[in-house]
Symmetry: C2
Subunit: 243 residues, 2 copies
Amino acid sequence: MAKARTATGGKRMANAPTKRDRPLTPDAIVAAALGLVEAEGLAAMSTRRLGQALGCQAMSIYYHFPSKQHLLDALVDHAIADVPIPPPGPAPVERLRRLAHAYRAMAHRHPQLFPLVAVHRLNTPTGVRFVEAVLALVEAVVPERERAARYFRALGYYLVGAALDETTGYAKGPSAAAPVSDEYVAMHCPRLLAASPYFKQAHWDATFALGLDALLAEMASGTIAPPPVPRPRVRPKTQRAPD
Amino acid sequence: MAKARTATGGKRMANAPTKRDRPLTPDAIVAAALGLVEAEGLAAMSTRRLGQALGCQAMSIYYHFPSKQHLLDALVDHAIADVPIPPPGPAPVERLRRLAHAYRAMAHRHPQLFPLVAVHRLNTPTGVRFVEAVLALVEAVVPERERAARYFRALGYYLVGAALDETTGYAKGPSAAAPVSDEYVAMHCPRLLAASPYFKQAHWDATFALGLDALLAEMASGTIAPPPVPRPRVRPKTQRAPD
DNA sequence: ACCTGAACACCGTTCAAGT
DNA sequence: ACCTGAACACCGTTCAAGT
C-alpha cells in the first residue's frame, strides 16, 4: 500500500532495465525475482514489475512458470538449497549446531524473502531432501525415534521463529501503524525498558546461540520426561505423507 | 490468487449481508474483519469484501480507520489481548508454561490471522504491556537480567515458530504448487517417512510440550554457559526504544 | 458527523494473436 | 517455440460530494 512511485515505469533505469538480448529462462526469471524481492520487498515483486526488470512483458513469465505461486515456490527452493549441510567430521551435536547457524545465515542472506520461506511447507524435492538431511543429524544426536522426531520439529520451530524475528524486525519499519511512544514504555514497562539493550542487533548472535544451545543440551542429555503418547484417534485411516 | 468467485457479489448471502441498521463502529469493523479472515482467509479480507460483509461501501471503513494497515494492527491487538496472563499462585516456571500454552491456544483460535501476528512487532500499548507481563514471568524464573532477556527472546522464537507451523500447516493446502509425490519421499527420504506419523496433528501437543519443557528446564537450571558478550559497537549513538 | 460514487494506479491471469 | 496486447475481475486509496 502507498508505494512511492508515479504512474508507468517512472524509475525503470534504477533496477537493471535489461533489454532482453538472450532469451528468457526460468533461471533468469528466478534471479531477477530474487533481486527484486531483496531490493524492493516481497510486495513489490509483481509480474509487471518483474517483467520490467527483465525487459519483457508480464505475460512472458507465464510461458516459463504456470503461475506466480510456482515462481514463489522456486524462490523458496532456491533459499533452501542455499543452506549447506555440514560435512561429516565433528560430533553430531556440533554438526547440528552448525546446520542451525547455516539456516539462520540463509535467512540473513534473504531477509525480505524469508517470511515466505517461514510459511512454506517444504514439500518439493529440494525441500524433502533438506528435511531428510536435518532429520539424519537430529537422529544422530537423539537415539530414540520418537524423541528425535519431536526434537526435529521443536528445533525447526525455534529456527524459523528466530530467523523470522531477526528478518522482519529490521527489514520492516515500526510494524504498528500507530506505534507506542518511548514515554509510554518508560512509564508502563520498566522491565522492557531495562531489557531493551539486550534486544538490539548486536546481541542477536548471543541470544540465538543461547536458545539453540539450550535445546541441543536437552536433546543430547535426554532429561526431559517423554510426553504422554496420544491415544490412537477414532478414524482408522491410512498414515503416510511427509506432513 | 485464483479465487473461485464470479463477478460482483456472487455470493453475498453466504457471509452475513448485514444490512446496516446500527451505525458503523471500529469494534463492529474489527469483529467483521476477524470473522472474514477466519472464514475466508487473510487474502480475502479486502476493503470491498469487508464492506460487503458490513453492508456498507469499502470507503466507509476509511472514516473509522485511516488505512487498512491500521485495521490489521487492530486485529493483531485483538489477538494479543486474547492471551490470558496466568494469575499468581503456582510456581513461576509453571505460570510461564501456562502462558506459553495460552499463547499457542490463541494461535489456534485465530489460525488464519496468526501468520500476521507472527510477523508483527508488538509496539502498540496492548503489545508492550503483553511483553512486559511475559518478561516479568521470565525474570521470575531466570534471576540474571541478561539471561532473562535472552531467554525471553528465545522462548518467543519457539512460541512463534511452533504456532506458525501448526496454523499455516493445516490451514493452508500443500503450499508448494507442485508438491512432491509420496513415492519420491518413500524412495529418497526413509527417515522422513519413518518420522511422519509423529508429525501428524495428534502429536502436536506432545511435541510442543517437549520443546517448551526443554527450554524451561534450561532456563530454570541455568546450566548453559553464558554466551560471549558482544563488544560495544563502533557508533556511539543513543540506545533506547523497546526494539 | 458519517457515508458514498467515481476515479486512479495498481494487481494476477485468460485468451487469442503475433513472430 | 516463445512472446505480446488487450481485456477481465479484482486491489487500496484519493477526492469531492452527498446526507
